[in-house]
């Protein structure tokens, strides 16, 4: 206590500053909260270790690469190679990105740049409502509405464009494409919200400068807004990718649950998350099967970790944010 050395004393005890007992609650709060926060870190570490330990029988039997990259998921033969699931996860997430990101970015640009000011808030809130619909409801809707309604159109496309790679043949009801489409709808709100946020950091003076030089609104977006927010939008897309890969129930309902690699986009497939949700009941009695499912979860966990880490890196370290904070520091209204 520095105050004690300069302050008056009374009965050998500093007048300024608190008696030890009165300082106790302060320390309790400080260290208690610190313990809580560090506890979170430990919990995540514990997570990882426990998942690995439980998954080890599968990795020991097939090897890490053997498990992850073998194209043979056969429960009855007790052989577990997760490649069909991995491929399913990547294809559906890829379809979701290709469909979802352009729509989400268009929505964000329209909301921030073209929409009349008083409709901006309500429009953004409406798009955000897409995030409030639960995964299982998307699955229900996708299975009983989307699949039967889209099937004729899919079959027509599959017949007419059979020369394209991964197109052609009979259209199964549930398929990679349907799952990707449902996932696309599910990632639109998050990608759109982050893109809106990134776009709002574009300094107004740059946008006004473009307009003052005679640019049309679209030219202003192309010359001032997009170059500035490219990194942020890439990061938003990556976060959407992470979401799409980890999405479970909706994918489980509409992917068809066939543990093989489909030949076309309109074939049935499986994803890492879906296999866990679907086969867990039967796996409870079979230790190897259970270990394989947990190993699938671990592979999924690691994949989403990498994607999210890269996404955060891009969003946080992107030039947009750095310049954005710099302009805030100088009191500019960005």
């Amino acid at each position: 206590m520095e105050s004690a050395s300069i302050g008056a004393t009374y009965g050998g005890r500093p007048v300024i500053g608190r008696p030890p007992l009165a300082r106790l609650p302060d320390r309790l709060v400080k260290w208690g909260l610190a313990a809580l926060s560090v506890g979170i870190l430990l919990l995540i570490g514990f997570f990882f270790v426990r998942l690995y330990i439980e998954a080890r029988p599968a990795f020991e039997k097939f090897g890490f690469f053997g498990f992850t990259f073998t194209n043979n998921w056969d429960v009855h033969a007790a052989h577990f190679g997760a490649l069909p699931l991995l491929v399913g996860t990547l294809i559906t997430a890829g379809v979701a990105l290709v469909i979802g990101v352009p729509v989400a970015v268009a929505t964000a640009l329209f909301t921030t740049e073209f929409c009349p000011r008083r409709f901006r808030g309500p429009l953004a809130a409406t798009v955000d409502l897409l995030a409030a619909v639960p995964s299982v409801v998307y699955g229900l809707w996708g299975f009983f509405v989307l699949i039967p309604k889209l099937r004729p159109a899919e079959q027509w496309f599959s017949d007419k464009f059979a020369f394209l790679p991964f197109v052609g043949g009979h259209v199964a009801g549930p398929s990679y494409f349907i799952a990707g489409l449902v996932l696309a709808i599910m990632i639109i709100p998050i990608v759109s919200a982050i893109t809106r946020e990134v776009i709002s950091t574009v300094p107004t003076d740059q946008k006004e400068a473009a307009l003052a030089l005679g640019a049309t609104r679209w030219e202003m977006i192309r010359m001032a807004v997009l170059p500035y927010s490219r990194a942020g939008i890439t990061g938003a897309a990556m976060l959407g990718l992470g979401r799409a890969m980890g999405e479970t129930i909706a994918a489980t309902i509409v992917i068809g649950n066939a543990p093989v690699i489909g030949k076309s986009l309109f074939d049935q497939g499986y994803t890492l998350a879906a296999v866990i949700a679907n086969e867990f009941g039967e796996a409870a009695a079979d230790p190897l099967h259970r270990a394989a499912l947990i190993a699938a979860g671990l592979v999924l966990f690691v994949m989403t970790l990498i994607v999210n880490a890269v996404a955060r890196g891009i969003i946080v370290r992107g030039p947009a944010r750095e310049r954005g904070t710099a302009s805030e520091a100088f009191g500019a209204t960005g």
Binding site: D26, K30, E54, A132, V133, I276, G297, N308
Partner: protein, 287 residues
């Protein structure tokens, strides 16, 4: 003169095309929302009746499939407990980050891993709780409270991040005024900082509740799917998402009708919480 006019026309046309495409994209985003709400209401309302909300699923293969009482009760109990677990811990971590940790290395690491947690698929949380609490057989096998812990893990990062954002926005002058009057730090936090940030914190908690209420994956192998109503969090417990998932899997018309009714109920509950969250956010003094 004509050349300039031609260029101007071309550019103007380009602008109009781009504007149209962006508007089209926005329409494309809104169409699924409208369609989902339309089908939910049309198909869901038909399933609603007094007995739909007051009876448990019967599980009988023929005849009356029963209602969703146990699912509604289970969702309320599980989500309630999850909130009671996640809110204090999440807010506590946020307070530590803002008031004590600031930008020291540990706080930076905590912030990073909280961010990481938001990206972890919900089914991985379910697996983790299955391994640590169900397999190990603590207090029986499947139980409502284990589902609640899984949902709490999911809600925790949402609570922490939203609380951190509003706590940072509380002006430092308020803290300094409290400290200058001789109040100890913990009193400044509980009497000055928290009240100022309360509406924003409540918004975050409500959004986390809305998110947790719709999760299926972590529940199906922690609380599982059962038929009967239960007030015992130590026993297996039904929930709305799990009930919908199980009914969809049966592919029987009567069960699918019940699934639509349950889905409408769930979405109505979630929209209620989202709307409450927005109202609190609007009342918030600190933005």
């Amino acid at each position: 003169m004509t050349a300039i006019a031609a260029i101007a026309t071309r550019r103007r046309r380009q602008d109009r095309v781009a504007r149209g495409l962006l508007a089209l994209g926005t329409m494309l985003a809104l169409i699924p929302l409208a369609l989902i709400l339309y089908y939910l209401i049309v198909k869901g309302i038909g399933a609603w009746s007094w007995s739909f909300f007051t009876t448990d699923p019967t599980g009988s293969f023929f005849g009356d499939p029963g209602g969703i009482k146990s699912a509604i009760l289970g969702t309320i109990e599980i989500v309630g407990l999850a909130t009671a677990l996640a809110a204090p811990v999440g807010i506590g971590v946020a307070i530590w980050l803002v008031e004590y940790g600031k930008s020291n290395p540990v706080a930076t690491a905590v912030r990073y891993f909280i961010d990481v947690m938001t990206g972890v698929p919900s089914i991985v949380f379910g697996l983790f709780i299955y391994i640590t609490l169900v397999l190990s057989g603590i207090g029986g096998t499947f139980a409502g409270w284990k589902g609640a812990v899984a949902l709490a893990l999911l809600a925790l990062p949402i609570v922490t991040r939203s609380a951190e954002v509003v706590l940072v926005l509380v002006p430092d002058t308020l803290r300094e005024a409290g400290l200058a009057l001789g109040a100890p730090r913990w009193k400044v936090i509980t009497r000055v900082v928290l009240p100022a940030a309360l509406p924003g914190i409540v918004t975050g908690v409500l959004l986390a509740v809305a998110r947790a209420a719709g999760e299926t994956a972590p529940l199906i192998f922690t609380a599982t799917i059962v038929k009967t109503s239960s007030f015992d969090l130590g026993a297996p417990m039904n929930s709305l998402p799990a009930q919908i998932f199980s009914d969809v899997g049966q592919a029987q018309d009567r069960l699918v009708t019940r699934a639509w009714g349950a889905a409408l109920t769930l979405v109505a509950l979630i929209f209620l919480f989202t709307t409450l969250a927005r109202l609190f956010a609007r009342r918030s003094a600190v933005r």
